[in-house]
């Protein structure tokens, strides 16, 4: 198996010292898509939520003030760039770092809200993200110990798959699931979406979707099932 099995065809590599990026149509499409979405977020304005008031016919507008808006936009852009980096990197170490960066920034985006419910959800999500750093970094370390390298280009050349490599990649998957807050931990994240300031909240969702797609590619490269 080589990189072209999943990614279509290998268009080339970008060697930056011992960190080598590789370009496939699969990678490039997700990279470009993330960058385009990040640009859209950077130039857009925040929404205003309208809440119906109980007992009267009046509506209440939930607005985001300018200072909070600026911080949130900045964090959303950082989150978008981290996602784009995780899409294109050819290095397990960088991939791990980008995923943890996404986790921290996601907490940061919702940390400034005033609703107690949302803060509660962000707290639970943050706890899960912190616990998930154990399997995430642990998985990367076990893979490093069992293959001797963290570069995906080197791992794909290895002719064998040991059980320790499978164990490490499963740990890595657990870490990514916890850090991005998908399926089993989704309940805490769904609450976070109710925050006012919509376009920036959406990056939380988009980053986790794209990172999971990329993580599946990484796992297939490590375990070589076909």
């Amino acid at each position: 198996m080589d990189l072209a099995t999943i990614g279509g065809q290998l268009l080339g590599t970008i060697p930056l010292g011992d960190i080598v990026l590789y370009l496939t149509p699969f990678n490039l499409f997700m990279f470009g898509g993330t960058l385009a979405f990040t640009t859209l977020i950077a130039i857009s304005r925040t929404e205003t939520q309208v809440e119906a008031e109980f007992g009267t016919l009046k509506d209440k507008e939930v607005k985001v003030n300018l200072e909070e808006f600026k911080i949130r936009r900045f964090l959303a852009i950082v989150c978008g760039l981290a996602t784009a980096g995780a899409m294109i990197t050819g290095d397990l170490f960088n991939f791990t770092l980008f995923v943890t960066l996404i986790g921290i920034v996601n907490i940061g985006i919702v940390s400034a809200v005033r609703q107690v419910d949302v803060l509660n959800a962000a707290f639970q999500y943050g706890l899960i993200a912190m616990m998930a750093s154990l399997p995430l970094f642990g998985g990367a370390a076990v893979l490093l110990a069992s293959t001797g390298t963290l570069s995906l280009l080197e791992i794909v050349k290895l002719p064998y798959v040991t059980s320790m490599m499978t164990f490490g990649s499963l740990l890595l998957l657990m870490g990514i699931i916890g850090e991005t807050g998908v399926a089993p931990f989704y309940a805490t994240k769904a609450e976070m979406f109710r925050t006012p300031g919509s376009p920036f909240i959406l990056i939380i969702h988009l980053s986790s979707l794209l990172v999971i797609v990329r993580a599946i590619e990484v796992l297939l490269i490590i375990n070589k099932p076909f």
Partner: protein, 223 residues
């Protein structure tokens, strides 16, 4: 074989032990979290899981593993700070209290040990840091300065020392860079270069950590 032949068999056989210790530490932390109902205790117990992560990574014991340990530590710190900030602002909003109530106030205690112990511990830490030199020594010496400033400012006492710390930090940074340049420009002077770099980074890191204390003190003054 991935492990080079120079590494003794005993060291290699310790790796599975390290993995098991990491798993057991992580399980202890998670068990504690599942029993605990108090949010603050849960946050502190989460740090045990982070320590288990460090055991996992440190078990590999190569320079690449060190490259994973440093970001791991930073990520742990950043996340625990972010989450404690969330916890703080949630409690403030929930109970509708002002933020100042949560800041610790000066204790009206008048005991001899409160005056002497911080100075003694700070001197021991700084002396040990200078003896170690390099990055580790800088962190320990800086911890000593930080401890001194924090223990004084927590009791509301003025701290006049260390005013020129920012300048010293900049000059030490220059020493560090000159030390590195010497390695390439004048290889015969490698010992001088090494010493310049080691003590430059010592003063640099120590003063940086000390600066945190000064900043905290100024925050106290503002309020």
């Amino acid at each position: 074989m991935i492990v080079p032949v120079q590494v003794p068999e005993l060291v290699v056989s310790l790796y599975p032990v390290a993995i098991w210790v990491g798993i057991i530490t992580g399980l202890i932390g998670l068990l504690g979290i599942s029993f605990q109902k108090n949010d603050l205790s849960v946050l502190i117990l989460t740090d045990i899981v982070g320590v288990a992560m460090l055991i996992f990574v440190a078990g590999v014991a190569t320079d690449l593993a060190e490259a994973l340990i440093l970001p791991g530590l930073v990520v742990e710190l950043a996340e625990i700070m972010a989450i404690s900030e969330i916890l703080l602002s949630r409690e403030i909003r929930k109970n509708n209290i002002s933020g100042e109530d949560l800041v610790p106030t000066a204790l009206p205690l008048n005991m001899e040990i409160l005056k002497t112990a911080p100075t003694f511990i700070a001197v021991v830490l700084i002396a040990y840091g200078v003896f170690l030199s390099g990055f580790t020594g800088g962190v320990i010496a800086g911890g000593g300065i930080l401890f001194y400033i924090l223990s004084k400012s927590a009791r509301g006492l003025p701290v006049e020392l260390f005013e020129g710390l920012a300048g010293a930090s900049g000059i030490a940074w220059v020493f560090w860079i000159v030390g590195f340049l010497l390695f390439f420009v004048g290889p015969p002077f490698w010992l001088l270069g090494l010493m310049l770099a080691a003590f430059g980074i010592l003063i640099k890191v120590a003063s940086k950590v000390g600066l945190i204390g000064i900043l905290t003190r100024e925050e106290f003054k503002k309020e």
